[in-house]
């Protein structure tokens, strides 16, 4: 390849042909355009006249120029010009291929692999030793060069990792000794580790970088602000908008998108998607995704941080007016208000609202203890605080208390008692509070005492310094009952005043983790991965993954040791996202010293075709110009030439429906089918409609013309009454104007019979390709609610009485417009008074066209069923077709017939 500027030539020697151009110039110049000989009596009058325009005795200069340009374009075109050619510089020596293998590489991993393979193939040809270095998955030992074949064999093992590369180790350390060249497959994101690695690589030899130009999008973890979920969206590269999808389980347990928000970047690299959702919906959100982006970075998993529990607060006594600080629920309310939805009211009322947690502050006898117990057994968390009333009550067989309470309680350190107020003992292992630090200033002055029991120790999850239980917990059914042996206000202890109180509530999953906690609450607990995120952004079950210490998790940066995903400890769940909370995405900028290739570099564009086409066009113009110069381009000939030129230039400028077809469609009933683009399907559809037309002609007064193939883009549907639409999986969707036309057609009483031709094996929960395609095709159509055809639908009796509607297959259900909800069967009537009008669509998969299809001799094209039964099925299929056409043409006439006796009776009166 030989290049001038940005254009390279595959066979530059051909360019020598350009030398011949001046010779051609002289030759062409000397030859004037051939004259026309004309017999003309008036020549006698012409004798002696001279031409004014002297230059016309040679070929005009512009014609010459045109011909030269055509020839030059042809010569240059055959020389194989390429714009921005990739110069294949055959390197020498060892080659290190560095690939980022990060989450951002996952979006175009196949292309990367392809590029890698290409580099390996080139190395194989050149006999260069190769080492592949995946930055996301650094080898423990320095790289060793091997053969390209070996590297290629190891390629399938190379996969993108769902984390940022170079987080845990220095890639410079594993670089091999000696000089080598480098090909760096970059994922396009700027990182701190790039500069030192690049410096180290450049010190060893030339570095080439392959970097795609497609933008990288990322999501940071969602957070709650002002009651709305805010998801920061990051970008690197030329993306204008991003659509953020909130995914979660719907009430049926199906993963679906719950909300979508489109954000515009408006120049900044950070935008925020705001989801303002009701709590019920918000608590369902499991993750946020950027639509269309298949990377782990474009997924933000949610955890408890974005969940707001519904907490019901029930106090024992009515709060005394003016003494708010002494109200039993004051501190609870203060602790819960920022992070939970608090329900107030009576117990029976709040239970209807399905709270996550019910807190009873000093309630001795819950009003609805049976229902409350039922609720706990179904998974509720009941937290009770002690108090004077509870202490005074007899809790002998209260199942809603984790332990039995000894009546009376005790007070320590008070004016009337011995001893100091007691502090808290460190939380035992296995307690949900384990790992929390105990502040020294939390003291307990009074508490209720638990009756000693064998299970008391196991149920104690917090205790005083002297070992008496402070918080006990017991399982009840699926749920928990928790008892704080102190009051919820500061009367008995200073616990509600301390920060520990909120942490304890959090550990009990009463409140959710405030996001600004800096991960300290993660410490001291071993977290077990529940679901893990792949580099492509899909969630997989973690299986039996080993636990991760909270310290690792608290760093907030995923790596080989801590994979991104959802981790759980006890009731708490924590999400570790790929994008750290402070990560900013930016495009990697490379110094001018590296050779940049890939999509960022200008694409290689072969110009041969364009040049040859230009030469051809120039020659065509030359023909016209020559005709014009020699005076042969006149009148009708000129017109024909212009028309031809227009035809050549605009071969696709199709007219609207041509008049003959429009007249044919309008002058009679015509069955029509949609052109699918699949030749075989179209042929069968045409033959099927031909067969149905024949049957209609023979048996009914409907005598349709020959069926038509309808091109949705150009034909006028208003002239048609019935459209058969076989659905193929690869059918292109009509244009918006075609959809507008289809909708007008449906509104004005037309009918479309959609046939997925899949024997209707697509039921609930399953889908065939054609079924999915049908959904996509029909989505923009104004289709009313549908239902499986009811047994009294007018289609069952418009001409023939039918019970089922087989085609070549005898699938069960076909779908028609749903009956109005108030349709009821009148007394004495065999049928309901159903839809007024024609169902705009019929959807089924029985491949009716194949059953109807006849060949040129009028014989069936396809066998249906077997033997006489099959022929019977074909007959029923024909009858179904007749019924459809009758339904289209007569609407609900047969429905009205039912009412004739009643009408006559009324008239008689």
């Amino acid at each position: 390849m030989w290049a001038i500027g940005p254009i390279g030539f595959a066979s530059p020697l051909l360019l020598l042909g350009l030398v011949a151009l001046p010779i051609l110039w002289i030759l062409l110049r000397a030859v004037p355009p051939a004259p026309i000989r004309r017999r003309f009596p008036g020549v006698a009058l012409l004798l002696g006249l001279t031409d004014e325009a002297v230059q016309a005795d040679r070929t005009p200069w512009w014609l010459l120029l045109l011909r030269m340009a055509a020839l030059a374009a042809a010569i240059v075109g055959f020389a194989g010009p390429v714009l921005n050619p990739t110069l294949q510089v055959a390197g020498a020596g060892p080659l290190v291929i560095v690939t980022d293998a990060s989450w951002a590489s996952a979006r175009d991993w196949p292309r990367r692999t392809e590029r890698l393979r290409q580099a390996l193939a080139e190395a194989t040809m050149a006999g260069r030793p190769v080492a592949v270095l995946a930055l996301g998955d650094l080898p423990p030992e320095p790289l060793v060069f091997g053969t390209p074949e070996a590297a290629e064999a190891a390629l399938p093992g190379l996969a993108p990792k769902p984390w940022e590369p170079g987080a845990d180790a220095d890639p410079v350390a594993v670089l091999p000794e000696g000089r080598f060249e480098t090909l760096w497959l970059s994922d396009g994101l700027a990182r701190a580790m790039r500069a030192p690695l690049l410096a180290a690589l450049e010190a060893r030899g030339m570095v080439r970088v392959w970097q795609p130009a497609t933008p990288v999008l990322g999501l940071r973890a969602a957070r709650i602000e002002d009651g709305a979920l805010r998801v920061p969206v990051l970008r690197a590269g030329p993306a204008e908008t991003a659509e953020v999808v909130a995914m979660g389980l719907d009430p049926n347990g199906v993963d679906r998108d719950l909300a979508r928000v489109t954000v515009a970047f408006e120049g900044a690299d950070l935008a925020e998607a705001v989801f303002d959702l009701p709590p019920e919906l918000r608590n369902r959100i499991a993750r946020f995704e950027i639509a269309g982006s298949r990377t782990a970075g474009a997924v933000a998993l949610t955890d408890d941080a974005v969940k707001r529990r519904k907490v019901a607060l029930i106090a024992g006594g009515t709060a005394r007016e003016g003494l708010e600080l002494l109200a039993p629920t004051h501190y609870l309310r203060q602790a819960l208000a920022p992070t939970a939805d608090i329900l107030d009211g009576t117990l029976e009322d709040v239970l209807l609202a399905k709270p996550d947690v019910v807190i009873l502050a000093d309630v001795a006898e819950p009003a609805e203890s049976d229902r409350l117990a039922e609720w706990v057994e179904e998974g509720g968390v009941l937290i009770r605080f002690a108090g004077p009333r509870l202490a005074a009550s007899d809790s002998g067989n209260d199942t809603l208390l984790p332990v039995r309470i000894r009546a009376g309680g005790r007070s320590v350190g008070g004016t009337m008692s011995w001893g100091e107020p007691r502090g808290l003992a460190p939380f035992p292992d296995g307690s949900p509070f384990a790992g929390l630090t105990v502040p020294a200033d939390v003291t307990v002055r009074a508490q209720v005492m638990a009756e000693p029991a064998p299970e008391l120790a196991e149920r104690t999850i917090a205790a005083l310094a002297d070992g008496t239980p402070l918080v006990t917990r017991a399982r009840l059914g699926q749920g928990w009952t928790v008892l704080f042996h102190v009051t919820a206000n500061a009367e008995w202890s200073s616990l509600p005043l301390s920060g520990l109180f909120v942490q304890m509530l959090e550990r009990l999953s009463v409140v959710t983790r405030p996001p600004e906690e800096d991960g300290k609450d993660l410490l001291g607990v071993t977290w077990v991965a529940q679901r893990l995120l792949s580099a492509q952004g899909t969630l997989t079950d973690a299986g039996e993954a080993a636990g991760v210490p909270g310290e690792e998790l608290a760093k907030g940066v995923p790596g080989p040791k801590v994979l991104p995903g959802i981790y759980a400890a006890g009731e708490r769940r924590v999400a570790l996202n790929v994008i750290a909370p402070d990560r900013v995405l930016a495009r990697a900028d490379w110094p001018a010293s590296v050779v940049l290739e890939g999509f960022d570099a200008p694409r290689e564009t072969p110009l041969k075709g364009a040049l040859l086409a230009a030469a051809l066009v120039a020659l065509m113009v030359d023909i016209l110009a020559s005709l014009a110069v020699s005076g042969r381009l006149r009148g009708a000939r000129a017109g024909a030439v212009v028309v031809l030129a227009l035809l050549a230039l605009a071969p696709r400028a199709q007219a609207e429906m041509d008049e003959a077809r429009a007249i044919a469609a309008a002058s009679n009933v015509v069955l029509a089918h949609v052109v699918t683009g699949n030749v075989e399907v179209d042929r069968v559809a045409e033959a099927g409609l031909r067969g149905l037309t024949d049957v209609l002609f023979r048996r009914t007064t409907v005598e349709p013309s020959a069926p038509m193939a309808v091109d949705l883009e150009n034909d006028d549907l208003a002239l048609l009454t019935f459209l058969y639409w076989p659905v193929t999986p690869d059918q292109p969707a009509p244009s918006p104007t075609a959809y507008a036309r289809l909708n007008r057609y449906l509104r004005s009483g037309g009918m479309i019979l959609f046939d997925t031709r899949d024997a209707d094996i697509a039921g609930f929960g399953t889908a065939t390709e054609t079924g999915r395609r049908l959904q996509a095709l029909a989505a923009p159509l104004d289709i009313p609610p549908l239902e499986p055809i009811p047994s009294d639908h007018v289609l069952t009796r418009t001409f023939y009485l039918l019970q089922d509607f087989p085609g070549r297959y005898s699938g069960r259900t076909i779908w028609v417009e749903a009956a109005p909800p108030d349709a009821e069967q009148a007394e004495g009537m065999p049928f309901r008074n159903l839809n007024d009008g024609v169902t705009p669509v019929i959807i089924g998969g029985n491949d009716w066209a194949s059953a109807w299809a006849i060949d040129a001799r009028g014989l069936p094209m396809f066998p249906v069923g077997r033997g006489l039964g099959g022929e019977r099925q074909r007959e029923i299929a024909y009858r179904f077709g007749v019924n459809i056409v009758m339904h289209v043409l007569t609407g609900n006439y047969k429905s009205d017939q039912v009412h004739v006796p009643a009408l006559l009776e009324r008239l008689g009166q």
């Binding site: 004259p35 026309i36 009596p41 008036g42 006698a44 009058l45 012409l46 005795d57 020699s630 006149r634």
Partner: protein
């Protein structure tokens, strides 16, 4: 021993005769057809004489033949009344139809050649004249003026004959009788000198007449473009141009100048001149011809 008859020569003669005979009727039929469209008017001389039309009644004078007396009219009075007829003097009309090669030109397939149009006009005029009792002859292929249908057949035969090979024709004035009428049908594209000379000679003989220039519309419009070699129909003249469109205006100027010259010549000789285009219907030209001849009769 008599020689055996030359069967081949006889057959050829007969073939030619049949061809000639078959070519007669179309031209004559067309001419009759065309002539039928012209309303026949009286050719009266506005004085008494021999003729078919009634002119006046007058008392019989001495010397009038008895057979001239209109007895029916005379019976109503005591006088012998004679019925005078209008004098209808037959006149000789000489037709000259240019049969040169330049007349065998048609600018479009839908139009007839100029010579065909000229012959049609001439024969139609002859039909009219002969019906009116005039004597009609040809000046070109010489045919002395005679009245009667038989003359019409001869005229048709002569006019149907192939023309001469010359590119441009010249009128032949030698055979034209003094004080007769002449009709020249030509395109007058050639050298105007013979025309001028002929008109001079004829004017001396007291012959008045009509000149009709028969042109194809193409010759009038000159709708040519580009590099063109123009050749006369006979091929004797040749003219090459690089840009025919540039010549259009100058050609038209020359054509108009030629027409002006002809009109001036005609005026000086007491003749009338007009131009007829083959694109127009022949009837208009025939009417004009008829009227022009009538005017000076």
């Amino acid at each position: 021993m008599s020689q055996p008859p030359d069967i081949g020569a006889a057959l050829a003669l007969r073939r030619e005769g049949e061809a000639a005979a078959s070519s007669l009727p179309p031209l004559l039929v067309a001419a009759e057809h065309l002539a039928a469209t012209v309303q026949m008017g009286g050719h009266g001389r506005r004085r008494a004489g021999t003729g078919a039309e009634f002119w006046q009644f007058r008392p019989a004078h001495a010397g009038d033949e008895a057979r001239l007396i209109d007895w029916r009219r005379s019976a109503r009075s005591d006088l012998q009344i004679i019925r005078d007829r209008e004098r209808e003097a037959a006149q000789s009309v000489h037709l000259w139809v240019d049969d040169a090669a330049s007349m065998r030109f048609s600018g479009a397939k839908t139009r007839v050649e100029k010579s065909a149009r000229a012959r049609l006009l001439a024969l139609a005029l002859a039909v009219l004249m002969i019906r009116a009792g005039e004597r009609v002859g040809l000046a070109g292929p010489l045919a002395p003026p005679r009245p009667g249908k038989a003359q019409l057949m001869q005229l048709a035969a002569l006019l149907s004959a192939e023309g001469a090979g010359a590119d441009y024709g010249a009128p032949e004035a030698a055979a034209i009788l003094a004080r007769s009428r002449a009709v020249f049908l030509s395109d007058f594209m050639g050298d105007p000198t013979p025309v001028k000379a002929a008109l001079g000679v004829l004017a001396d003989r007291g012959v008045s007449g009509v000149m009709v220039q028969v042109l194809d519309p193409v010759e009038e419009e000159f709708p040519f473009d580009g590099r063109t070699i123009f050749e006369s129909i006979g091929g004797t003249l040749r003219f090459e141009t690089r840009q025919a469109a540039d010549l259009r205006q100058r050609y038209r100027d020359r054509l108009n100048a030629r027409r002006d010259l002809l009109a001036t010549l005609a005026h000086a000789a007491g003749w009338q001149f007009s131009t007829h285009h083959t694109g127009q219907p022949a009837q208009a030209a025939l009417l004009w011809l008829y009227a022009a001849l009538e005017r000076r009769r």
